[in-house]
């Protein structure tokens, strides 16, 4: 089956793609923000609320509770794998106890930031294009005097600068390297394996923000030897509000009561119901991971649907997904460069080679009144892309200069837009996007 026919077939799984507005279908190119949800995932959520809307964990032992537990923790007798094991196998973690459900990637990173036992003088090393999710948790600690934050600058061609990393690791007391595996700004994926080897050689641990990676890249955490991995299920055709923190068992705790005993074990940032083995009026003991990190009533339908989402992606095939994204991005990149060039008012951010940008194509428009193009694309032909600063204020303020968002004269206006594709995107959709963009540029006298 050719790629377009294949895409048409998988699109049938997504109810949102069957909607129409003004007689036209949606063209959803905002997948780096959040992905669409297939019917199987929606069904998993519905099943919970309509069939067994109870608590899970050790709280209750009744019928509904068992049904929920089965779908999250698995039940071999019933042949149910359970979401935690599905995710464990998906990233090849050593144990299900290494899979902590969180609200999202930001939450997962904050668990590490707030629980890591830093020593005076410790440095946390970031890339220069971190999403605020992987910047603010560290800046807060720096502000409190707990750590120092440093970053590695990107090469001019948008690639990762391994030499700069070597220098930073050699000359600083780096305790943790925390970086976006794939940047949400340009779609570039860093050479994680080499970075982890270098960091470990210098005694630093590594946290990867894989929010933009998991959707299209097979990750084997044991092969990578990464210490912590954070990601969001909603960027993988899953429910909103569910994320995952993977951590090596040695850093999450191997037994109950261990959190205060080992310098390497991170402390749970939030404590309460569901995290404790026992309490007295004066003391408490914690459960093993992952429970000690999953405080309070959880998003059970979301966690169940997370397993359904991962299974859905596995059935589609990660290679097939990345192949489709690369094919479409290559087409879009070549067409845009052919039409508008890449040296003047129109510029693609990141590596020129679409193969290095996954499904992300971010472009700058430096023309009068450059804002509002995303709205016009949506109004004219239901083409949905993103505009703004993509939560990467720090990098954009650095390269564009402070105040770039408030230019004094219209001729100094510039705006950044991001189209992000997924496996259900099609060439036909890309053509509508290109033609609509062309119309808008012509109306605005940009071309």
């Amino acid at each position: 089956m050719d790629s377009e026919k294949w895409a048409e077939k998988v699109r049938q799984d997504f109810p949102a793609l069957k909607k129409k507005r003004g007689g036209k279908p949606p063209i959803y190119f905002d997948n780096a923000c959040t992905t669409l949800v297939p019917q199987t995932v929606i069904d998993a959520i519905n099943d919970y609320y309509t069939g067994f809307p109870g608590c899970a964990g050790a709280r209750s032992r009744h019928w509904f509770s068992q049904e929920v537990n089965d779908r999250i923790e698995g039940n071999e007798e019933k042949g149910i794998k359970g979401s935690r094991r599905i995710i464990k196998e998906f990233i090849n973690a050593a144990s299900e106890k290494e899979i902590i459900f969180t609200q999202n990637t930001s939450h997962a990173i904050n668990i590490v930031a707030l629980g890591y036992k830093f020593k005076p003088g410790d440095v946390v090393l970031l890339s220069d294009k971190e999403h605020n999710s992987n910047l603010l948790p560290w800046l807060r600690l720096q502000k409190k005097g707990v750590i120092k934050v440093d970053h590695v600058n990107t090469n001019e061609d948008g690639s990762f600068n391994l030499d700069a990393l070597r220098q930073k690791l050699a000359n600083n007391n780096v305790a943790l390297v925390s970086m976006a595996y794939t940047t949400n700004l340009t779609g570039y994926t860093i050479p994680a394996e080499e970075i982890i080897k270098l960091a470990h050689a210098h005694g630093a641990k590594v946290l990867l923000d894989a929010a933009q990676t998991m959707s299209h890249r097979q990750i084997d955490v044991q092969k990578l030897d990464v210490d912590f991995l954070a990601f969001s299920i909603h960027k993988m055709c899953g429910p909103r509000g569910v994320g995952v923190l993977y951590g090596k068992r040695a850093y999450l705790g191997r037994a109950a009561h261990e959190e205060d005993e080992t310098a390497d074990v991170i402390e749970p940032a939030v404590l309460g119901g569901g995290t404790v083995g026992d309490t007295t009026y004066n003391s408490y003991s914690l459960l093993e991971p992952p429970e000690r990190f999953e405080v309070g009533i959880q998003d059970y339908p979301g966690q169940i649907a997370a397993g359904a989402a991962v299974e859905y992606l596995q059935n589609i095939g990660i290679d097939k997904i990345s192949g489709q994204m690369n094919r479409l991005n290559d087409f879009l990149t070549k067409e845009l460069l052919k039409r508008y060039g890449d040296t003047g008012w129109f510029r693609i951010l990141g590596p020129k080679d679409a193969g290095q940008r996954g499904g992300i194509l971010t472009f700058e428009v430096k023309r009068p009144n450059a804002v509002g193009i995303a709205e016009e694309l949506s109004d004219k032909n239901n083409v949905m892309i993103r505009d703004g600063v993509f939560c990467v204020h720090s990098y954009l303020n650095y390269i564009c200069g402070e105040g770039w968002l408030r230019p004094k004269i219209p001729t100094e206006h510039k705006m950044i837009y991001r189209a992000s594709l997924y496996f259900y995107s099609t060439i036909e959709e890309c053509k509508v996007f290109l033609d609509t963009l062309d119309t808008i540029f012509k109306e605005r006298s940009y071309i």
Partner: protein, 133 residues
């Protein structure tokens, strides 16, 4: 975008944005963000600042700074061209018709922004009359 808005906007691009600029210590300062009147765009950093100098009851000068879409830019340019030299009473009497007459269009998107800018202007004039800077 409406054809007549496009035509007007192209002229601005060609001949320059006549009223773009800032007035130091204006008698009336209007800010779409502070007033929560959405004229520019849904982008979070989009904004429109209008500066008005009043002398002897007349609008002596009016300028603006903005990060906004072309339609909003056309609306504010028309506002400036209409208001300059008008009395405060005449400015208060400004209606949608003045804009549609200036552009020759009754485009929905254009008129939505016109209504927003008239509301913004009235708030500024009311504050000025009440002696609030």
């Amino acid at each position: 975008m409406d054809e007549l808005v496009v035509k007007y906007y192209r002229r601005l691009c060609r001949e320059g944005f006549e009223h773009n600029g800032e007035i130091k210590s204006p008698d009336i300062f209007l800010d779409t963000v502070g007033e929560k009147i959405r004229i520019c765009s849904h982008v979070s950093h989009a904004y429109l600042h209008i500066y008005i100098r009043i002398s002897e009851g007349k609008i002596e000068d009016i300028k603006y700074l903005c990060t906004c879409d072309p339609t909003a830019n056309v609306v504010v340019e028309i506002l400036c061209s209409i208001l300059k030299g008008k009395t405060i009473i005449e400015a208060e009497a400004l209606t949608e018709n003045d804009f549609t007459n200036a552009l020759g269009s009754t485009d929905d998107e254009f008129l939505k922004k016109v209504r927003g800018i008239i509301e913004l202007l009235h708030r500024g004039l009311d504050r000025y009359k009440a002696g609030i800077r």
